[in-house]
Point group: C2
Chain length 323, copies 2
Protein backbone atom coordinates (compact mmCIF):
# COMPACT_ATOMS: atom_id res chain seq x y z
CA UNK A 1 0.00 0.00 0.00
CA UNK A 2 1.36 3.39 -0.94
CA UNK A 3 1.51 6.07 1.77
CA UNK A 4 -1.35 8.00 0.20
CA UNK A 5 -3.53 4.89 0.15
CA UNK A 6 -2.93 4.43 3.86
CA UNK A 7 -3.94 8.04 4.51
CA UNK A 8 -7.09 7.56 2.44
CA UNK A 9 -8.19 4.64 4.54
CA UNK A 10 -7.46 6.59 7.75
CA UNK A 11 -9.55 9.46 6.43
CA UNK A 12 -12.44 7.23 5.35
CA UNK A 13 -12.53 5.69 8.83
CA UNK A 14 -12.50 9.08 10.47
CA UNK A 15 -15.28 10.42 8.25
CA UNK A 16 -17.39 7.29 8.75
CA UNK A 17 -17.29 7.69 12.53
CA UNK A 18 -18.05 11.44 12.41
CA UNK A 19 -21.50 11.83 13.87
CA UNK A 20 -24.21 14.02 12.52
CA UNK A 21 -27.57 14.47 14.19
CA UNK A 22 -30.39 12.36 12.79
CA UNK A 23 -33.42 14.60 13.32
CA UNK A 24 -35.01 16.23 11.39
CA UNK A 25 -34.40 13.42 8.97
CA UNK A 26 -34.74 15.46 5.79
CA UNK A 27 -32.05 17.85 6.96
CA UNK A 28 -29.44 15.25 7.93
CA UNK A 29 -30.08 12.22 5.71
CA UNK A 30 -28.85 14.02 2.56
CA UNK A 31 -25.58 14.88 4.31
CA UNK A 32 -24.77 11.23 4.99
CA UNK A 33 -25.94 10.28 1.50
CA UNK A 34 -23.75 12.89 -0.09
CA UNK A 35 -20.62 12.06 1.95
CA UNK A 36 -21.05 8.32 1.45
CA UNK A 37 -21.02 8.93 -2.29
CA UNK A 38 -17.28 8.47 -2.31
CA UNK A 39 -15.51 10.48 -4.91
CA UNK A 40 -11.77 10.77 -4.93
CA UNK A 41 -11.46 12.52 -1.55
CA UNK A 42 -9.02 14.67 -3.42
CA UNK A 43 -9.22 17.68 -1.10
CA UNK A 44 -8.84 15.91 2.27
CA UNK A 45 -6.04 13.81 0.78
CA UNK A 46 -4.16 16.90 -0.32
CA UNK A 47 -4.64 18.40 3.14
CA UNK A 48 -3.37 15.30 4.93
CA UNK A 49 -0.45 14.80 2.55
CA UNK A 50 0.63 18.42 2.93
CA UNK A 51 0.46 18.07 6.71
CA UNK A 52 2.40 14.80 6.63
CA UNK A 53 5.27 16.50 4.88
CA UNK A 54 6.06 18.46 8.03
CA UNK A 55 5.03 16.14 10.86
CA UNK A 56 4.66 12.44 11.65
CA UNK A 57 1.45 13.05 13.54
CA UNK A 58 -1.22 13.91 11.01
CA UNK A 59 -4.15 13.06 13.30
CA UNK A 60 -4.73 16.73 14.25
CA UNK A 61 -5.40 17.41 10.57
CA UNK A 62 -8.30 14.97 10.30
CA UNK A 63 -11.08 17.40 11.35
CA UNK A 64 -9.88 20.01 8.85
CA UNK A 65 -9.66 17.29 6.17
CA UNK A 66 -13.28 16.42 6.90
CA UNK A 67 -14.16 20.12 6.78
CA UNK A 68 -12.85 20.58 3.23
CA UNK A 69 -14.55 17.38 2.08
CA UNK A 70 -17.88 18.42 3.59
CA UNK A 71 -17.51 21.87 2.08
CA UNK A 72 -16.76 20.37 -1.34
CA UNK A 73 -19.83 18.16 -1.12
CA UNK A 74 -21.94 21.16 -0.14
CA UNK A 75 -20.86 22.89 -3.36
CA UNK A 76 -21.91 19.83 -5.37
CA UNK A 77 -25.32 19.79 -3.66
CA UNK A 78 -26.08 23.41 -4.48
CA UNK A 79 -24.40 23.36 -7.91
CA UNK A 80 -26.61 20.42 -8.90
CA UNK A 81 -29.70 22.54 -8.18
CA UNK A 82 -28.33 25.50 -10.12
CA UNK A 83 -27.23 23.30 -13.04
CA UNK A 84 -30.37 21.10 -13.04
CA UNK A 85 -28.14 18.04 -12.71
CA UNK A 86 -30.20 15.00 -11.66
CA UNK A 87 -27.26 12.57 -11.46
CA UNK A 88 -24.10 12.72 -9.38
CA UNK A 89 -21.53 9.92 -9.32
CA UNK A 90 -24.04 7.59 -10.95
CA UNK A 91 -26.71 8.16 -8.30
CA UNK A 92 -29.61 10.61 -8.11
CA UNK A 93 -28.39 13.99 -6.89
CA UNK A 94 -29.83 15.18 -3.56
CA UNK A 95 -31.99 17.66 -5.41
CA UNK A 96 -33.41 14.91 -7.65
CA UNK A 97 -33.95 12.53 -4.74
CA UNK A 98 -35.39 14.81 -2.05
CA UNK A 99 -36.45 17.94 -3.90
CA UNK A 100 -35.03 21.38 -4.16
CA UNK A 101 -35.89 22.77 -0.74
CA UNK A 102 -34.25 19.86 1.03
CA UNK A 103 -31.16 20.26 -1.13
CA UNK A 104 -30.93 23.98 -0.36
CA UNK A 105 -31.30 23.54 3.39
CA UNK A 106 -29.12 20.44 3.72
CA UNK A 107 -26.44 22.23 1.75
CA UNK A 108 -26.65 25.14 4.18
CA UNK A 109 -26.32 22.72 7.09
CA UNK A 110 -23.26 21.19 5.41
CA UNK A 111 -21.47 24.55 5.29
CA UNK A 112 -22.09 24.87 9.01
CA UNK A 113 -20.95 21.28 9.63
CA UNK A 114 -17.77 22.07 7.72
CA UNK A 115 -17.10 24.99 10.05
CA UNK A 116 -17.91 22.82 13.04
CA UNK A 117 -15.22 20.36 11.95
CA UNK A 118 -12.85 23.23 11.33
CA UNK A 119 -13.40 24.50 14.89
CA UNK A 120 -11.71 21.33 16.11
CA UNK A 121 -8.37 22.47 14.70
CA UNK A 122 -5.70 23.25 17.28
CA UNK A 123 -7.09 26.43 18.96
CA UNK A 124 -3.91 28.46 18.53
CA UNK A 125 -4.07 27.91 14.77
CA UNK A 126 -7.79 28.48 14.40
CA UNK A 127 -7.77 32.20 13.51
CA UNK A 128 -5.20 31.66 10.76
CA UNK A 129 -6.95 28.54 9.43
CA UNK A 130 -10.32 30.30 9.46
CA UNK A 131 -8.88 33.08 7.37
CA UNK A 132 -7.55 30.68 4.73
CA UNK A 133 -10.81 28.73 4.72
CA UNK A 134 -13.08 31.79 4.49
CA UNK A 135 -11.16 33.34 1.63
CA UNK A 136 -11.13 30.04 -0.21
CA UNK A 137 -14.83 29.38 0.38
CA UNK A 138 -15.87 32.81 -0.92
CA UNK A 139 -13.70 32.39 -4.00
CA UNK A 140 -15.36 29.05 -4.76
CA UNK A 141 -18.73 30.86 -4.75
CA UNK A 142 -17.26 33.52 -7.03
CA UNK A 143 -16.10 30.81 -9.42
CA UNK A 144 -19.55 29.25 -9.54
CA UNK A 145 -21.12 32.65 -10.25
CA UNK A 146 -18.67 33.33 -13.10
CA UNK A 147 -19.42 29.86 -14.46
CA UNK A 148 -23.14 30.68 -14.50
CA UNK A 149 -22.44 34.12 -15.97
CA UNK A 150 -20.54 32.48 -18.83
CA UNK A 151 -23.67 30.59 -19.87
CA UNK A 152 -25.23 33.93 -20.82
CA UNK A 153 -22.11 35.22 -22.50
CA UNK A 154 -21.49 34.89 -26.21
CA UNK A 155 -17.73 35.13 -26.01
CA UNK A 156 -15.57 33.95 -23.12
CA UNK A 157 -11.82 34.39 -23.45
CA UNK A 158 -9.26 31.76 -22.43
CA UNK A 159 -8.02 34.16 -19.74
CA UNK A 160 -11.54 34.55 -18.31
CA UNK A 161 -12.03 30.80 -18.40
CA UNK A 162 -8.75 30.07 -16.62
CA UNK A 163 -9.64 32.66 -13.96
CA UNK A 164 -13.01 31.00 -13.44
CA UNK A 165 -11.63 27.47 -13.00
CA UNK A 166 -8.90 28.78 -10.74
CA UNK A 167 -11.66 30.09 -8.46
CA UNK A 168 -14.08 27.22 -8.89
CA UNK A 169 -11.62 24.33 -8.67
CA UNK A 170 -8.05 25.32 -7.83
CA UNK A 171 -8.51 27.52 -4.76
CA UNK A 172 -10.22 24.75 -2.81
CA UNK A 173 -7.26 22.45 -3.45
CA UNK A 174 -4.91 25.30 -2.60
CA UNK A 175 -6.81 26.09 0.60
CA UNK A 176 -6.66 22.41 1.55
CA UNK A 177 -2.88 22.06 1.19
CA UNK A 178 -2.30 25.37 2.95
CA UNK A 179 -4.41 24.36 5.95
CA UNK A 180 -2.66 20.98 6.05
CA UNK A 181 0.73 22.66 5.96
CA UNK A 182 -0.26 25.12 8.72
CA UNK A 183 -1.38 22.26 10.97
CA UNK A 184 1.85 20.41 10.17
CA UNK A 185 3.83 23.43 11.34
CA UNK A 186 5.24 24.35 7.94
CA UNK A 187 7.24 27.54 7.48
CA UNK A 188 5.28 30.39 5.84
CA UNK A 189 7.28 30.15 2.62
CA UNK A 190 6.41 26.46 2.23
CA UNK A 191 2.73 27.24 2.81
CA UNK A 192 2.87 29.74 -0.02
CA UNK A 193 4.70 27.30 -2.31
CA UNK A 194 2.19 24.54 -1.63
CA UNK A 195 -0.63 26.96 -2.31
CA UNK A 196 0.83 27.68 -5.75
CA UNK A 197 1.46 23.97 -6.32
CA UNK A 198 -2.23 23.22 -5.77
CA UNK A 199 -3.36 26.09 -7.99
CA UNK A 200 -1.37 24.63 -10.89
CA UNK A 201 -2.46 21.09 -10.07
CA UNK A 202 -6.10 22.19 -9.98
CA UNK A 203 -5.83 23.86 -13.37
CA UNK A 204 -4.20 20.76 -14.87
CA UNK A 205 -6.88 18.60 -13.27
CA UNK A 206 -9.75 20.73 -14.58
CA UNK A 207 -8.35 20.92 -18.12
CA UNK A 208 -7.91 17.16 -18.05
CA UNK A 209 -11.54 16.86 -16.92
CA UNK A 210 -12.59 18.98 -19.89
CA UNK A 211 -10.50 16.87 -22.25
CA UNK A 212 -11.74 13.54 -20.90
CA UNK A 213 -15.36 14.64 -21.24
CA UNK A 214 -14.94 14.72 -25.02
CA UNK A 215 -12.00 12.37 -25.58
CA UNK A 216 -11.88 10.14 -22.49
CA UNK A 217 -13.05 6.59 -22.33
CA UNK A 218 -16.32 5.22 -21.04
CA UNK A 219 -14.65 3.57 -18.04
CA UNK A 220 -14.91 6.84 -16.15
CA UNK A 221 -18.67 6.52 -15.94
CA UNK A 222 -19.18 9.82 -17.68
CA UNK A 223 -21.10 10.25 -20.89
CA UNK A 224 -18.57 11.05 -23.54
CA UNK A 225 -19.46 14.35 -25.10
CA UNK A 226 -21.79 15.53 -22.32
CA UNK A 227 -20.21 18.99 -22.34
CA UNK A 228 -20.73 19.27 -26.09
CA UNK A 229 -24.37 18.27 -25.85
CA UNK A 230 -24.97 20.81 -23.08
CA UNK A 231 -23.19 23.49 -25.09
CA UNK A 232 -20.92 24.11 -22.10
CA UNK A 233 -18.09 26.56 -22.15
CA UNK A 234 -15.03 24.37 -21.66
CA UNK A 235 -11.37 24.83 -22.38
CA UNK A 236 -11.83 22.89 -25.62
CA UNK A 237 -14.73 24.95 -26.81
CA UNK A 238 -13.21 28.29 -25.87
CA UNK A 239 -9.89 27.38 -27.46
CA UNK A 240 -11.68 26.27 -30.61
CA UNK A 241 -13.67 29.50 -30.75
CA UNK A 242 -10.56 31.60 -30.26
CA UNK A 243 -8.62 29.75 -33.01
CA UNK A 244 -11.39 29.39 -35.56
CA UNK A 245 -12.09 31.81 -38.38
CA UNK A 246 -15.53 33.41 -38.44
CA UNK A 247 -17.18 30.83 -40.78
CA UNK A 248 -15.94 27.97 -38.55
CA UNK A 249 -17.19 29.77 -35.44
CA UNK A 250 -20.57 30.13 -37.09
CA UNK A 251 -20.53 26.42 -37.98
CA UNK A 252 -19.80 25.55 -34.37
CA UNK A 253 -22.57 27.78 -33.05
CA UNK A 254 -25.03 26.36 -35.56
CA UNK A 255 -24.05 22.78 -34.75
CA UNK A 256 -24.61 23.40 -31.03
CA UNK A 257 -28.10 24.73 -31.65
CA UNK A 258 -29.12 22.25 -34.33
CA UNK A 259 -31.93 20.20 -32.81
CA UNK A 260 -32.23 17.99 -35.89
CA UNK A 261 -28.84 16.35 -35.25
CA UNK A 262 -28.55 13.14 -33.26
CA UNK A 263 -26.35 13.29 -30.16
CA UNK A 264 -23.70 11.17 -31.81
CA UNK A 265 -23.74 13.31 -34.93
CA UNK A 266 -23.48 16.55 -32.95
CA UNK A 267 -20.54 15.24 -30.93
CA UNK A 268 -18.80 13.94 -34.04
CA UNK A 269 -19.16 17.24 -35.90
CA UNK A 270 -17.89 19.35 -33.00
CA UNK A 271 -14.97 17.00 -32.37
CA UNK A 272 -14.09 17.13 -36.06
CA UNK A 273 -13.71 20.89 -35.72
CA UNK A 274 -11.71 20.49 -32.50
CA UNK A 275 -9.42 18.04 -34.25
CA UNK A 276 -8.95 20.24 -37.28
CA UNK A 277 -8.00 23.14 -35.00
CA UNK A 278 -5.55 20.96 -33.07
CA UNK A 279 -7.49 21.56 -29.84
CA UNK A 280 -6.83 18.18 -28.14
CA UNK A 281 -3.08 18.48 -28.57
CA UNK A 282 -3.06 22.09 -27.36
CA UNK A 283 -5.07 21.08 -24.33
CA UNK A 284 -2.72 18.19 -23.56
CA UNK A 285 0.12 20.63 -23.83
CA UNK A 286 -1.47 23.04 -21.35
CA UNK A 287 -2.17 20.18 -18.95
CA UNK A 288 1.49 19.13 -19.09
CA UNK A 289 2.78 22.67 -18.63
CA UNK A 290 0.65 23.18 -15.55
CA UNK A 291 1.29 19.76 -14.09
CA UNK A 292 5.06 20.04 -14.57
CA UNK A 293 4.99 23.49 -13.03
CA UNK A 294 3.17 22.03 -10.02
CA UNK A 295 5.73 19.23 -9.58
CA UNK A 296 8.63 21.64 -9.98
CA UNK A 297 7.27 23.71 -7.11
CA UNK A 298 7.50 20.67 -4.85
CA UNK A 299 11.26 20.64 -5.46
CA UNK A 300 11.58 24.10 -3.97
CA UNK A 301 10.12 23.17 -0.58
CA UNK A 302 12.37 23.31 2.47
CA UNK A 303 11.86 19.62 3.30
CA UNK A 304 13.81 16.59 2.06
CA UNK A 305 12.74 15.35 -1.35
CA UNK A 306 11.69 12.05 0.24
CA UNK A 307 9.04 13.86 2.28
CA UNK A 308 7.42 15.27 -0.82
CA UNK A 309 7.19 11.82 -2.39
CA UNK A 310 3.71 10.77 -1.15
CA UNK A 311 2.13 14.01 -2.37
CA UNK A 312 3.98 13.70 -5.68
CA UNK A 313 2.74 10.12 -6.14
CA UNK A 314 -0.78 11.14 -5.27
CA UNK A 315 -0.71 13.97 -7.80
CA UNK A 316 0.63 11.60 -10.44
CA UNK A 317 -2.05 9.02 -9.78
CA UNK A 318 -4.65 11.75 -9.92
CA UNK A 319 -3.48 12.80 -13.36
CA UNK A 320 -3.25 9.19 -14.50
CA UNK A 321 0.51 9.46 -14.75
CA UNK A 322 1.42 6.82 -12.24
CA UNK A 323 5.03 5.76 -12.59
Amino acid sequence: MRPYEQLLSTFENYLAQTEFASEPEKLYAPIGYSLAGGGKRLRPMLLMLACGMFTQDTAPALPAAAAVEIFHNFTLLHDDIMDNAPVRRGKPSVYAKWGQNVAILSGDAMIICAYRMLSQCPPALLPQIMQVFNTMALQVCEGQQYDMDFEQKRKVSVVEYMHMIELKTSVLLAGAVTIGAIIGGAPKEDCRTLYRFAIELGLAFQLQDDLLDSYGDEQLGKTIGGDILEGKQTYLMITAMSRADEPTRETLRRTYRDASLSDAEKIARVKAVYDRLDVPRLTEQQISVKFERALALLDTLSVDAARTQPLREFAESLMGRKK
Copy 2:
Protein backbone atom coordinates in the same frame (compact mmCIF):
# COMPACT_ATOMS: atom_id res chain seq x y z
CA MET B 1 -31.37 59.05 22.97
CA ARG B 2 -31.69 55.84 24.93
CA PRO B 3 -28.54 53.70 25.32
CA TYR B 4 -29.87 51.07 22.96
CA GLU B 5 -30.57 53.69 20.31
CA GLN B 6 -26.95 54.84 20.53
CA LEU B 7 -25.76 51.26 20.09
CA LEU B 8 -28.01 50.83 17.07
CA SER B 9 -26.49 53.83 15.35
CA THR B 10 -22.96 52.58 16.17
CA PHE B 11 -23.85 49.22 14.68
CA GLU B 12 -25.42 50.71 11.54
CA ASN B 13 -22.27 52.75 10.96
CA TYR B 14 -20.09 49.72 11.42
CA LEU B 15 -22.16 47.58 9.06
CA ALA B 16 -22.30 50.33 6.44
CA GLN B 17 -18.50 50.57 6.34
CA THR B 18 -18.01 46.79 6.21
CA GLU B 19 -16.67 46.05 2.77
CA PHE B 20 -17.76 43.23 0.55
CA ALA B 21 -16.19 42.50 -2.79
CA SER B 22 -18.06 43.84 -5.82
CA GLU B 23 -17.29 41.22 -8.49
CA PRO B 24 -18.95 39.05 -9.64
CA GLU B 25 -21.79 41.50 -9.33
CA LYS B 26 -24.60 38.95 -9.10
CA LEU B 27 -22.91 37.28 -6.15
CA TYR B 28 -22.30 40.38 -4.07
CA ALA B 29 -25.02 42.88 -5.01
CA PRO B 30 -27.76 40.81 -3.28
CA ILE B 31 -25.74 40.84 -0.06
CA GLY B 32 -25.66 44.63 0.10
CA TYR B 33 -29.31 44.78 -0.96
CA SER B 34 -30.33 42.38 1.74
CA LEU B 35 -28.33 44.04 4.52
CA ALA B 36 -29.47 47.53 3.52
CA GLY B 37 -33.04 46.34 3.92
CA GLY B 38 -32.95 47.40 7.53
CA GLY B 39 -35.13 45.38 9.80
CA LYS B 40 -34.91 45.74 13.54
CA ARG B 41 -31.29 44.63 13.86
CA LEU B 42 -32.65 42.64 16.77
CA ARG B 43 -29.86 40.06 16.89
CA PRO B 44 -26.84 42.38 16.74
CA MET B 45 -28.54 44.69 19.26
CA LEU B 46 -29.00 41.82 21.69
CA LEU B 47 -25.37 40.84 21.21
CA MET B 48 -24.07 44.36 21.82
CA LEU B 49 -26.38 44.97 24.78
CA ALA B 50 -25.33 41.71 26.41
CA CYS B 51 -21.69 42.63 25.92
CA GLY B 52 -22.25 46.13 27.30
CA MET B 53 -23.55 44.70 30.54
CA PHE B 54 -20.07 43.44 31.39
CA THR B 55 -17.74 45.98 29.82
CA GLN B 56 -17.63 49.62 28.77
CA ASP B 57 -15.79 48.77 25.58
CA THR B 58 -18.24 47.07 23.27
CA ALA B 59 -16.25 47.76 20.09
CA PRO B 60 -14.71 44.23 20.04
CA ALA B 61 -18.25 42.87 19.78
CA LEU B 62 -19.06 44.70 16.54
CA PRO B 63 -17.73 42.02 14.12
CA ALA B 64 -19.69 39.30 15.90
CA ALA B 65 -22.78 41.55 15.87
CA ALA B 66 -22.37 41.89 12.11
CA ALA B 67 -21.90 38.11 11.85
CA VAL B 68 -25.26 37.32 13.48
CA GLU B 69 -27.01 39.96 11.36
CA ILE B 70 -25.48 38.60 8.14
CA PHE B 71 -26.37 35.06 9.18
CA HIS B 72 -29.95 36.11 9.92
CA ASN B 73 -30.25 37.76 6.52
CA PHE B 74 -28.87 34.64 4.85
CA THR B 75 -31.70 32.63 6.44
CA LEU B 76 -34.25 35.09 5.06
CA LEU B 77 -32.72 34.82 1.57
CA HIS B 78 -32.94 31.04 1.46
CA ASP B 79 -36.25 30.82 3.35
CA ASP B 80 -37.82 33.14 0.78
CA ILE B 81 -36.89 30.66 -1.97
CA MET B 82 -38.24 27.71 -0.01
CA ASP B 83 -41.43 29.56 0.95
CA ASN B 84 -41.94 31.15 -2.50
CA ALA B 85 -42.05 34.55 -0.84
CA PRO B 86 -41.62 37.31 -3.43
CA VAL B 87 -41.72 40.22 -0.94
CA ARG B 88 -39.50 40.95 2.03
CA ARG B 89 -39.80 44.14 4.11
CA GLY B 90 -41.93 45.70 1.40
CA LYS B 91 -39.34 45.14 -1.34
CA PRO B 92 -38.85 42.29 -3.82
CA SER B 93 -37.02 39.39 -2.17
CA VAL B 94 -33.62 38.53 -3.62
CA TYR B 95 -35.11 35.46 -5.21
CA ALA B 96 -37.85 37.51 -6.90
CA LYS B 97 -35.42 40.22 -8.01
CA TRP B 98 -32.44 38.19 -9.26
CA GLY B 99 -33.78 34.66 -9.67
CA GLN B 100 -33.38 31.51 -7.69
CA ASN B 101 -29.80 30.57 -8.57
CA VAL B 102 -28.49 33.97 -7.56
CA ALA B 103 -30.41 33.76 -4.29
CA ILE B 104 -29.00 30.31 -3.52
CA LEU B 105 -25.41 31.28 -4.23
CA SER B 106 -25.52 34.73 -2.60
CA GLY B 107 -27.04 33.13 0.47
CA ASP B 108 -24.15 30.66 0.56
CA ALA B 109 -21.70 33.53 0.29
CA MET B 110 -23.47 35.28 3.18
CA ILE B 111 -22.93 32.30 5.49
CA ILE B 112 -19.24 32.47 4.66
CA CYS B 113 -19.20 36.27 5.14
CA ALA B 114 -20.81 35.74 8.54
CA TYR B 115 -17.99 33.39 9.52
CA ARG B 116 -15.47 35.84 8.14
CA MET B 117 -16.81 38.52 10.48
CA LEU B 118 -16.84 36.05 13.33
CA SER B 119 -13.15 35.29 12.73
CA GLN B 120 -12.41 38.86 13.79
CA CYS B 121 -13.46 38.09 17.36
CA PRO B 122 -10.66 38.22 19.95
CA PRO B 123 -8.53 35.16 18.98
CA ALA B 124 -8.45 33.67 22.47
CA LEU B 125 -12.26 33.58 22.51
CA LEU B 126 -12.69 32.32 18.95
CA PRO B 127 -12.93 28.56 19.64
CA GLN B 128 -15.63 29.10 22.28
CA ILE B 129 -17.54 31.60 20.15
CA MET B 130 -17.35 29.32 17.11
CA GLN B 131 -18.87 26.53 19.14
CA VAL B 132 -21.83 28.67 20.23
CA PHE B 133 -22.31 29.99 16.71
CA ASN B 134 -22.09 26.59 14.98
CA THR B 135 -24.58 24.95 17.34
CA MET B 136 -26.94 27.85 16.97
CA ALA B 137 -26.64 27.96 13.18
CA LEU B 138 -27.38 24.25 12.79
CA GLN B 139 -30.39 24.53 15.08
CA VAL B 140 -31.78 27.35 12.96
CA CYS B 141 -31.61 25.02 9.94
CA GLU B 142 -33.33 22.32 11.98
CA GLY B 143 -36.10 24.77 12.85
CA GLN B 144 -36.63 25.67 9.22
CA GLN B 145 -36.80 21.99 8.27
CA TYR B 146 -39.40 21.29 10.99
CA ASP B 147 -41.37 24.31 9.80
CA MET B 148 -41.43 22.87 6.27
CA ASP B 149 -42.25 19.40 7.63
CA PHE B 150 -45.27 20.87 9.43
CA GLU B 151 -46.75 22.00 6.12
CA GLN B 152 -47.20 18.33 5.19
CA LYS B 153 -48.49 17.34 8.60
CA ARG B 154 -52.18 17.19 9.43
CA LYS B 155 -51.78 17.64 13.16
CA VAL B 156 -49.04 19.62 14.88
CA SER B 157 -49.11 19.78 18.67
CA VAL B 158 -48.45 22.94 20.68
CA VAL B 159 -45.34 21.27 22.09
CA GLU B 160 -44.01 20.50 18.61
CA TYR B 161 -44.76 24.05 17.51
CA MET B 162 -42.98 25.60 20.47
CA HIS B 163 -39.97 23.37 19.84
CA MET B 164 -39.88 24.48 16.21
CA ILE B 165 -40.01 28.22 16.97
CA GLU B 166 -37.43 27.79 19.71
CA LEU B 167 -35.08 26.40 17.03
CA LYS B 168 -36.11 28.70 14.23
CA THR B 169 -36.28 31.96 16.16
CA SER B 170 -35.11 31.76 19.77
CA VAL B 171 -31.74 30.04 19.47
CA LEU B 172 -30.38 32.75 17.19
CA LEU B 173 -31.27 35.39 19.77
CA ALA B 174 -29.84 33.16 22.49
CA GLY B 175 -26.63 32.59 20.52
CA ALA B 176 -26.33 36.34 19.99
CA VAL B 177 -26.58 37.28 23.69
CA THR B 178 -24.25 34.44 24.67
CA ILE B 179 -21.57 35.54 22.22
CA GLY B 180 -21.98 39.15 23.38
CA ALA B 181 -21.63 38.08 26.99
CA ILE B 182 -18.54 35.98 26.23
CA ILE B 183 -16.86 38.92 24.49
CA GLY B 184 -17.83 41.15 27.42
CA GLY B 185 -16.08 38.74 29.78
CA ALA B 186 -19.21 37.55 31.57
CA PRO B 187 -19.01 34.72 34.11
CA LYS B 188 -20.23 31.37 32.76
CA GLU B 189 -23.34 31.44 34.90
CA ASP B 190 -24.40 34.80 33.47
CA CYS B 191 -23.85 33.49 29.93
CA ARG B 192 -26.22 30.63 30.68
CA THR B 193 -28.81 32.94 32.25
CA LEU B 194 -28.72 35.30 29.28
CA TYR B 195 -29.10 32.34 26.95
CA ARG B 196 -32.31 31.34 28.74
CA PHE B 197 -33.47 34.98 28.80
CA ALA B 198 -33.20 35.14 25.00
CA ILE B 199 -34.94 31.81 24.52
CA GLU B 200 -37.98 33.11 26.45
CA LEU B 201 -37.81 36.48 24.73
CA GLY B 202 -37.68 34.80 21.33
CA LEU B 203 -40.73 32.68 22.10
CA ALA B 204 -42.67 35.73 23.30
CA PHE B 205 -41.56 37.61 20.20
CA GLN B 206 -42.61 34.84 17.82
CA LEU B 207 -46.00 34.32 19.46
CA GLN B 208 -46.57 38.07 19.27
CA ASP B 209 -45.65 37.92 15.58
CA ASP B 210 -48.27 35.20 15.09
CA LEU B 211 -50.85 37.24 16.98
CA LEU B 212 -50.15 40.47 15.10
CA ASP B 213 -50.45 38.72 11.75
CA SER B 214 -54.13 38.11 12.44
CA TYR B 215 -54.94 40.83 14.97
CA GLY B 216 -52.26 43.51 14.51
CA ASP B 217 -52.72 46.77 12.74
CA GLU B 218 -51.73 47.73 9.23
CA GLN B 219 -49.00 50.08 10.41
CA LEU B 220 -46.62 47.14 10.58
CA GLY B 221 -46.65 46.84 6.80
CA LYS B 222 -47.87 43.29 6.96
CA THR B 223 -51.03 42.04 5.36
CA ILE B 224 -53.43 41.29 8.17
CA GLY B 225 -54.46 37.67 7.93
CA GLY B 226 -51.62 36.56 5.65
CA ASP B 227 -50.98 33.48 7.77
CA ILE B 228 -54.66 32.51 7.57
CA LEU B 229 -54.74 32.89 3.80
CA GLU B 230 -51.61 30.76 3.45
CA GLY B 231 -53.06 28.14 5.77
CA LYS B 232 -49.91 28.42 7.90
CA GLN B 233 -49.43 26.50 11.10
CA THR B 234 -49.20 29.26 13.72
CA TYR B 235 -49.67 29.33 17.46
CA LEU B 236 -53.21 30.64 16.91
CA MET B 237 -54.16 27.93 14.48
CA ILE B 238 -52.61 25.10 16.47
CA THR B 239 -54.18 26.31 19.69
CA ALA B 240 -57.56 26.58 17.98
CA MET B 241 -57.24 23.07 16.56
CA SER B 242 -56.28 21.65 19.93
CA ARG B 243 -59.20 23.35 21.72
CA ALA B 244 -61.90 22.82 19.11
CA ASP B 245 -64.30 19.91 19.01
CA GLU B 246 -64.23 17.73 15.90
CA PRO B 247 -67.02 19.58 14.02
CA THR B 248 -65.27 22.92 14.59
CA ARG B 249 -61.95 21.45 13.46
CA GLU B 250 -63.66 20.25 10.30
CA THR B 251 -65.16 23.72 9.77
CA LEU B 252 -61.71 25.27 10.13
CA ARG B 253 -60.16 22.83 7.66
CA ARG B 254 -62.97 23.38 5.18
CA THR B 255 -62.72 27.16 5.48
CA TYR B 256 -58.97 27.04 4.80
CA ARG B 257 -59.49 25.05 1.64
CA ASP B 258 -62.59 26.85 0.38
CA ALA B 259 -61.54 28.58 -2.84
CA SER B 260 -64.95 30.20 -3.29
CA LEU B 261 -64.47 32.48 -0.27
CA SER B 262 -63.04 35.96 -0.67
CA ASP B 263 -59.87 36.69 1.32
CA ALA B 264 -61.76 38.96 3.70
CA GLU B 265 -64.48 36.39 4.23
CA LYS B 266 -61.99 33.60 4.90
CA ILE B 267 -60.08 35.70 7.43
CA ALA B 268 -63.32 36.79 9.14
CA ARG B 269 -64.57 33.22 9.47
CA VAL B 270 -61.33 31.85 10.86
CA LYS B 271 -60.98 34.74 13.29
CA ALA B 272 -64.57 34.19 14.44
CA VAL B 273 -63.58 30.64 15.42
CA TYR B 274 -60.39 31.89 17.10
CA ASP B 275 -62.43 34.42 19.08
CA ARG B 276 -65.02 31.87 20.11
CA LEU B 277 -62.24 29.56 21.37
CA ASP B 278 -60.60 32.43 23.28
CA VAL B 279 -57.42 32.01 21.25
CA PRO B 280 -56.28 35.67 21.20
CA ARG B 281 -56.49 35.99 24.99
CA LEU B 282 -54.70 32.69 25.52
CA THR B 283 -51.96 33.78 23.14
CA GLU B 284 -51.60 37.12 24.95
CA GLN B 285 -51.32 35.20 28.17
CA GLN B 286 -48.55 32.98 26.83
CA ILE B 287 -46.69 36.01 25.50
CA SER B 288 -46.86 37.64 28.93
CA VAL B 289 -45.75 34.51 30.75
CA LYS B 290 -42.70 34.12 28.52
CA PHE B 291 -41.83 37.79 28.49
CA GLU B 292 -42.10 38.12 32.29
CA ARG B 293 -39.99 35.00 32.68
CA ALA B 294 -37.36 36.58 30.43
CA LEU B 295 -37.30 39.80 32.45
CA ALA B 296 -37.17 37.91 35.74
CA LEU B 297 -34.04 36.11 34.52
CA LEU B 298 -32.31 39.48 34.10
CA ASP B 299 -32.77 40.06 37.85
CA THR B 300 -30.70 36.98 38.62
CA LEU B 301 -27.58 38.17 36.77
CA SER B 302 -24.45 38.92 38.79
CA VAL B 303 -24.30 42.56 37.63
CA ASP B 304 -25.96 45.64 39.14
CA ALA B 305 -29.58 46.12 38.12
CA ALA B 306 -28.61 49.40 36.43
CA ARG B 307 -26.38 47.52 33.98
CA THR B 308 -29.28 45.36 32.84
CA GLN B 309 -31.43 48.41 32.16
CA PRO B 310 -30.52 49.02 28.48
CA LEU B 311 -31.24 45.41 27.53
CA ARG B 312 -34.47 45.51 29.54
CA GLU B 313 -35.59 48.69 27.77
CA PHE B 314 -34.71 47.22 24.40
CA ALA B 315 -36.73 44.08 25.12
CA GLU B 316 -39.68 46.19 26.24
CA SER B 317 -39.56 48.34 23.13
CA LEU B 318 -39.37 45.22 21.03
CA MET B 319 -42.52 43.84 22.58
CA GLY B 320 -44.26 47.20 22.32
CA ARG B 321 -44.25 47.55 26.08
CA LYS B 322 -42.20 50.68 26.35
CA LYS B 323 -42.59 52.25 29.77
